[in-house]
Amino acid sequence: MAAFASLGAQTADLIPPGKAHLRDTTQDAARTLETFLTSVERKAFRIAQIALRHEADALDVVQDAMLQLSSRYASRPPEEWRPLFYRILENRVRDVQRRRSVRSRVMAYLPWRGQVEDDTVDPIEQAVDKAPLPPAQLESDEAMAALEQAIAALPARQQQAFLLRNLEGLDVAETAATMKCSQGSVKTHYFRALQALRLKLGEFRT
């Protein structure tokens, strides 16, 4: 918050005297953007995490999407931000998946594959927490894990349609704008995703 306050102060310094309305507009716009980013950041992280199955990559992708929205599209009307932001996020997720795919193909041809592990896992981070969980929490965690796994196994477009509609709560039109396809396609993707998840999970309990 201190960083934001100092940013506001710096911006205010640049405004010539007698143009206070500009300062108000600038601060309002910054506040609106901050509110928007706050409202989407966690859901965006979860969407990226489910798609990428990697926390650090998901954080990077969300940060990139925020930066790009802020630096390029902040001047657009705020009602356009949500579809734009999720489109940027989706593009970043695809970029990471493409890079991974290329890297794994290249690594498959290298003779010393398996010896170099740049994604070293921290054993402390990976250690299972032995503390007992309440049964309800445990059930919920298991259900979430199963759901996450099932969503991750969906084709990309179905996954995107399902998460945007259920996690972010976009309507069909917003989802179509985000996915750059027709509303009919969104409905089809969503319905297929739902069918696949039902088939895999049954009527799971929360």
């Binding site: 640049l14 500009l22 953007l33 980013l37 950041e41 992280f45 954080l59 925020m66 630096s71 259920n166």
Partner: protein, 134 residues
């Protein structure tokens, strides 16, 4: 198939899935939340300013000053003071040239007696050439 697929959240399955997903987003670990907050501040800092920046406001003044300096450099005489201005001293030099007795006269060829030179040349030619029968 359950109900209208265009209406998300109608079925119990969807409601459960949504509740799980939203809860998982709300209950993120502290480290992740902190990183997201930092990312948000970085994004806000990258937001282009809506007001003219300090640098942009000083650009026209800078250009004007640079142009004035360029004109001064082009039109001011280099390496000479005002006292050494040749135009200013032209009158004095002219007077010195005209009053100098040792100088070659500017109108010297007007005083030359061309008839004398022609006669002398003829005389010299007559003296050196032997006359026939002498």
């Amino acid at each position: 198939m359950t109900g209208d697929p265009t209406e998300a959240g109608n079925s119990e399955f969807e409601q459960r899935a949504r509740a799980l997903l939203i809860r998982s987003a709300e209950e993120l670990p502290g480290a992740v939340r902190s990183r997201l907050t930092r990312a948000r501040y970085a994004a806000l800092a990258a937001r282009p300013s809506q007001t003219p920046s300090l640098a942009r406001r000083w650009v026209p003044a800078g250009v004007a000053v640079a142009a004035a300096l360029g004109l001064l450099v082009l039109y001011l005489p280099h390496g000479r003071g005002l006292g050494e201005n040749p135009v200013a001293n032209a009158g004095m030099e002219d007077i010195e040239l005209l009053t100098d007795n040792d100088a070659v006269p500017l109108n010297g060829d007007q005083d030359v007696d061309y008839d004398f030179y022609e006669w002398a040349a003829e005389e010299a030619a007559g003296a050196t050439a032997p006359t026939l029968g002498s």
